[in-house]
């Protein structure tokens, strides 16, 4: 077995211990001395976006219905003996949960006591699927309710509509939860096939945060894995068509019962051409985040201008999301004047693109980002989430502190030049009913 590596990040006050087992499973401990809570996760590099892929050893692509990764996540909580994992955890005084994103599924458990039992159960249920025609049918009813809840939510709808307008062919278009039609195409055979493909240890990571010893984490994981006797596997090829830079449609309007309009505006682009160096990619990503903070953040003239004129009423925010080969950012709020918001924010972005980002705001953004990464160290759940999602994107979260010192205004400027273009913009608004 490979011996564990311990890294200490002085600037973040964080110690990280990790190793990779012979079957390919990565095991990581983010040490948090003094914390009562232990946060255990077992995650697979698999999510809503993975709808077309070539399984190791095969040559033809497999197509699966939208929403299957999330459906699978739900179903793993059901045990072959008819019991439920949620219930077992609850009886230990622990809180289990799971969530599915576009390229990850995270199973987690937060506990104070009974670490060994909680950890064993996590490793076991995730690797122990039990699907029947009957339990698949029952789940379709439950997920239909969850889909309905989403359709009642203006915040979800405005986002769904934005994504639908921004992207033409990229699987980023897929809703993680699927649709009522797509989830009814899910069968137990498809679920077993997806589990077999994506829940191999070489596609997964175990990450724990808390006041525990790595020896214990490793001992329990190794014991569980030995009994399962995994054979080495080739890699999974994800079939992702190239996304054109033009948006599918520039504007989408929708009416719902809301107190005032809800708006999101998005821009699409590429942070870097394919095949580049990961560290370089990470630095560009950080440059992009700082650009957004410097131009759209809460200490900019434009934000306060819109706030003081009451164009921004509430829920103001912006965010950057990256996918393989393409990325987007959006900015949005609740407003009585959605068009004014769209035009003023676009003007601010164009101005920063053409005349340059304010250097003072950029340095302030750098400081904020340093403060932010330190905050994340105090929040076990956020810390593990960031670690795992960076890992699946091929990035090292802890590099971030160093890269924040390196990143330059030029990098931020280049990002705006790439993304802020008329034909790369889409606008989504939810308007009140009559």
């Amino acid at each position: 077995m490979v011996s564990p590596v311990t890294q200490t990040y002085e600037a973040l006050g964080q110690e990280v211990v990790s190793t990779t087992l012979p079957n390919g499973l990565k095991v990581v401990l983010l040490r948090k001395p003094g914390y009562q809570r232990k946060y255990l996760t077992f995650s697979t590099h698999y999510g809503g976006m993975d709808s077309v892929f070539i399984r190791p050893g095969e040559s033809q692509p497999t197509h699966v219905p939208d929403g299957i990764a999330h459906f699978l996540e739900h179903k793993l909580f059901e045990e072959p003996d008819g019991t439920n994992v949620l219930d077992k955890y609850s009886r230990m005084g622990a809180s289990p949960n799971a969530y599915t994103g576009q390229n990850y599924t995270v199973y987690l458990c937060s506990l104070v006591e009974q670490f060994d039992e909680g950890f064993d159960l996590l490793l076991d249920y995730v690797q122990n699927p039990h699907f029947t025609d009957e339990n698949v049918h029952k789940e379709q009813g439950i997920i239909e309710q969850e889909i309905q809840m989403g359709l009642d939510s203006p915040i979800r709808m405005v986002y769904y509509n934005l994504i639908d307008s921004l992207y033409q062919v990229h699987p980023a278009r897929i809703r993680v939860i699927g649709s009522v039609e797509s989830i009814h195409q899910i069968t137990k055979e498809l679920l077993y096939a997806c589990h077999d493909t994506f829940y191999h240890p070489s596609n997964m990571v175990v990450a724990v945060a808390g006041d525990v010893d790595f020896d214990d984490v490793l001992r329990l994981t190794a014991r569980d894995m030995e009994a399962r006797n995994y054979q080495p596997r080739g890699s999974i090829e994800r079939v992702i068509p190239e996304e054109p830079l033009e948006v599918r449609q520039a504007e989408v309007r929708h009416k719902m019962q809301v107190s005032r309009p809800n708006v999101l505006m998005g821009f699409k682009g590429r942070l870097m051409a394919d095949g580049g160096d990961q560290r370089e990619y990470h630095r560009r990503l950080i440059g992009a985040e700082l650009a957004l903070d410097a131009v759209l953040g809460r200490s900019t003239d434009e934000y306060w201008n819109l706030y003081e004129r009451s164009v921004i009423a509430s829920r103001y925010g912006y965010s950057l999301t990256t996918y393989p080969g393409v990325s987007h950012f959006y900015v949005g709020c609740e407003t009585e004047e959605p068009e004014a918001f769209r035009d003023r924010i676009t003007d601010a972005l164009v101005k920063a693109r053409d005349r340059g980002i304010d250097a003072e705001r950029f340095e302030e953004a750098r400081k904020r980002a340093i403060g932010d990464v330190l905050s994340a160290m105090d929040d076990l759940q956020l810390l593990v989430h960031l670690y795992v999602t960076h890992h699946f994107d091929g990035l090292d979260l802890f590099e971030r502190r160093e890269l924040l010192n390196e990143v330059s205004l030029d990098e931020a400027q280049r990002f705006l030049g790439e993304f802020v273009q008329e034909n790369r913009r889409a606008y989504s608004v939810i308007e009140p009913l009559s």
Binding site: G13, S90, R91, G93, W304, S310, A369
Partner: protein, 432 residues
């Protein structure tokens, strides 16, 4: 298993002035330090809207940093120091809070602690004024935004259902108000009455400054004393919360909304104040009924009958209020109500296994211990307890949990009464 010493949540107390204390809990486990000023006021229909407006207006500017942007930039320069304010409705009290969250000095260049306290004191004591009022422009705009936030309740159906149920249960009482106040109260507030209210609460209301982080308590005391102690007038007392379980059959209220689902809320009242040890029994009762995944509501409403995606209950020990809620198909109202009522009856009758009882104990114990992992968890637990005359530590509460048995749950069950059946009924067509 690694064993770090178990920390205590006990705050070291330093008197600052009449009715004003500094409470410090030093700990090295956080990378950030949190400072929170908490002012206690009686929840009052006339004052609540003003109290809730103040932190929003004070974030708009100070004498030294006259605009919101200036204040935001000053905080940004301190490595994303987070300056915030807000209100909590805790029983029959309004807690008005101003807080600062900043990175520990050791991780960045510069001395942040003192500069951060300067900024917090500036926001707290020196709002922008015009004549004998707060700045008119900020006041009028924040009033409009506050009304917008109240109206936005319709966007979140679960919150709307819970709030409407509570409004019906406490009609005519201050507790029926939203924590942000009422539209009428907000409209009635003006620049002058808000400045008066600001002075009133700072001069006469109980006020505590909490600090959780890697600080030396003596030094923290010196730094806080320099900046936060001013003239205080006579202290006005704030009463503890009145609890009453009421009498009679539950009322039923149905309200239609344009949405797909329906939300069924059962509102129950107890006569147990927070300082009554029976509140631990009531916490168990809630835990068995709907506080956890192993609880009756989740097991029977969601898992067994597949009636709902969510089904749970929550207990507000400060007001003696228990609420059970389920998101259901509108056509399943009768069935869902019957099942939910049966779960309450069975819980009160002691009809649950020892295993469920012990699972609830473990769950509650973990929840208490996890409060030690966040600064806000420690501060708000202490502030809430102080308000209700039960300032016990998290350790004391955890110990109390160990002593509760089935007979306690059955006994406190007699102090619980179903008061309201509220249905927020979807009429379909949430969008077009």
């Amino acid at each position: 298993m690694a064993t770090s010493p178990v920390e205590t949540s006990v705050f070291q107390e330093f008197p600052l002035a009449t009715g004003m204390r500094l409470m410090v809990a030093p700990t090295q486990k956080f990378k950030r330090t949190r400072v929170m000023v908490i002012l206690h006021d009686q929840l009052d229909a006339e004052r609540a809207s003003k109290g809730a407006l103040l932190p929003f207006i004070q974030k708009r500017g100070t004498e030294r940093y006259p605009s919101g942007m200036d204040l935001e930039r000053a905080a940004g320069a301190l490595y994303d120091a987070d300056l915030s304010g807000g209100v909590y409705k805790v029983g029959d009290r309004q807690l008005i809070t101003y807080s600062l969250d900043m990175v520990n000095d050791q991780y960045v260049d510069g001395e942040l602690f003192g500069s951060g306290l300067d900024l917090l004191a500036e926001m707290l004591y020196r709002p922008v004024t015009e004549g004998d009022g707060l700045k008119e422009e900020y006041v009028e705009q924040e009033k409009r935004f506050q009304i917008g936030r109240l109206r936005a309740l319709v966007n979140n159906k679960i919150a709307l259902a819970r709030h409407r149920c509570l409004e019906e249960m406490y009609q005519g009482q201050p507790f029926a108000q939203h924590e942000l106040g009422s539209e009428e109260g907000i409209m009635a507030a003006d620049a002058r009455s808000l400045l008066d209210h600001h002075r009133l609460i700072l001069n006469t209301r109980p006020m505590d400054v909490y600090i959780v982080g890697d600080v030396d308590p003596e030094r923290a005391y010196e730094e806080v004393r320099k900046r936060f102690v001013g003239d205080r007038g006579a202290l006005s007392t704030v009463e503890t919360t009145r609890v009453n379980k009421g009498v009679g059959e539950p009322r039923e209220v149905v309200q239609e909304e344009r949405m797909n689902q329906g939300w069924l809320v059962l509102g129950l009242k107890t006569d147990i104040p927070r300082k009554d040890p029976d509140r631990y029994g009531m916490m168990f009762l809630n835990g068995v009924l709907g506080g956890f995944v192993h609880s009756k509501l989740f097991a029977n409403v969601r898992e067994k009958a597949s009636l709902a995606y969510t089904a749970s209950s929550s207990y507000d020990a400060n007001k003696g209020l228990l609420m059970a809620i389920a998101g259901i198909d509108v056509n399943k109202y009768d069935q869902a109500l019957e099942i939910m009522r049966k779960q309450i009856d069975d819980t009160v009758a002691g009809d649950f296994s020892d295993e469920v009882l012990e699972a609830t104990r473990r769950g509650l114990r973990s929840q208490y211990r996890m409060r030690l992992d966040t600064a806000d968890g420690r501060i708000l637990f202490h502030a809430g307890g102080t308000a209700e005359g039960a300032p016990e530590s998290i350790e004391e509460a955890t110990a109390a949990i160990e002593r509760i048995g089935r007979e306690d749950i059955v006994r406190v069950g007699e102090r619980l009464r179903l008061d309201m059946v509220f249905f927020l009924k979807g009429s379909g067509m949430s969008s077009e």
